[in-house]
Assembly symmetry: C2
Homo-oligomer: 223 residues x 2
């Protein structure tokens, strides 16, 4: 009897989203080890109770050590579990997701990973290892639902320090994969306490000058 | 070194909500065993990989065996984890929640439970075991958020087979703990495919006759 017959294996996986060339992308890693060696997967790893304070800390550690990424906020999506999802035994994966500007990901490939790729979130173009295809679909659904229904300011995590509302709308559109109505978008932002107007600071260019904003201090990913 | 230094203990806990006398209540159990013997807790138990197909099945089994309750739908809330939350070692609890008509809970107290109580969800009146006070607060927040923002039809799980929109609104109000605007509520229901009007079936009583509805076949808890 394997230990995993009595104690489940516990993994953390992360769907790390960004916008690259106006398109929503997800970071995939190519596995350097069995099982599923050379398969494409979401970055993840096993929980180490002796090192990790909790599951979120485990996900933070895994991103740091495997792909040299520091993620300021991680949001739990849900668990995936059962006897069949990993050949090593009865397992649980706790899926997290995060939004991160593209240029914050160091290209340095580290431990246990052969390659990194920013794949199209809707259609990554690879057969995914384990149940990571389903994990990606569930994380993507949650992200879009949040942006569409409850949190139009969520993409603040992807914005530069100062930005216009038009730029924020473009980022929301890239996440949703479709255009949104400008008037309705502005109405939804009107009462947001997460946006801070920068008095007298305007973006000037080919168009009429546009008001600049910043995210409020301590803006959080979670609802 | 305990096994739980290498393999975390994995539990499932369930916040089971119902409406009793127009008030949102949560089912608590009084523990018959250490740790926290005689403490009040959400019903829950340990994952048994040799018996459970996945975490949701574990939660279903625990409700069935410990408190004789069959729950048709369980929704995952989130995980709670770390070295300090349970004296038995590094542990994970996966929290689920469900809505269930009050009279579906058999009063029979079973294995490892001393007593059952439908406590006020907002203020259960007991010091809760482990981190179950926090778990209850998180589940309650999710439930109210769903009903308020994305799923006004969620309380269909608490309704009789045929009901009026006024009765559905009263149930939503009991969940939210406050009155809601009738016109806005009806607008939100207008395009719902989860409600089926029953042609010619009216509720008659002291008020004007009111149209009766049922939930569509296969209505699901989840978003």
């Amino acid at each position: 009897m394997k230990k995993s017959d009595l104690f489940p294996l516990v993994f953390v996986d992360v769907a790390l989203f960004s916008i690259v060339s106006d398109c929503l992308r997800v970071l995939l890693v190519r596995r350097a080890q069995d099982p599923n060696r050379r398969g494409w997967a979401l970055p993840g790893g096993i929980l180490k109770p002796e090192m990790d304070a909790d599951l979120k800390s485990a996900a933070t550690r895994v991103l740091r050590t495997k792909i040299s990424v520091e993620v300021p906020h991680l949001e739990e999506v849900r668990t995936f579990s059962g006897v069949d999802r990993d050949p090593r035994g009865w397992s649980i994966s706790v899926l997290f997701c995060a939004l991160l500007p593209y240029d914050k990901v160091n290209a340095l490939v580290k431990d246990k990973v052969e390659a990194l790729e920013w794949a199209a979130a809707d259609n990554p173009g690879h057969r995914m290892a384990f149940d990571h295809g389903e994990q990606l679909a569930v994380a993507l659904h949650m992200l879009r639902d949040r942006v569409r229904v409850t949190r139009p300011v969520l993409p603040l995590h992807l914005m530069p320090e100062r930005f216009t509302l038009t730029a924020l709308q473009k980022t929301c559109e890239a996440i949703l994969g479709k255009e949104i109505d400008k008037a309705a978008f502005r109405r939804r932002l009107k009462d947001s306490t997460d946006l801070v107007e920068l008095p007298g600071e305007l973006q000037r260019g080919s168009h009429a000058p546009a008001q600049l904003f910043r995210a409020r201090d301590g803006f959080e990913f979670a609802v």
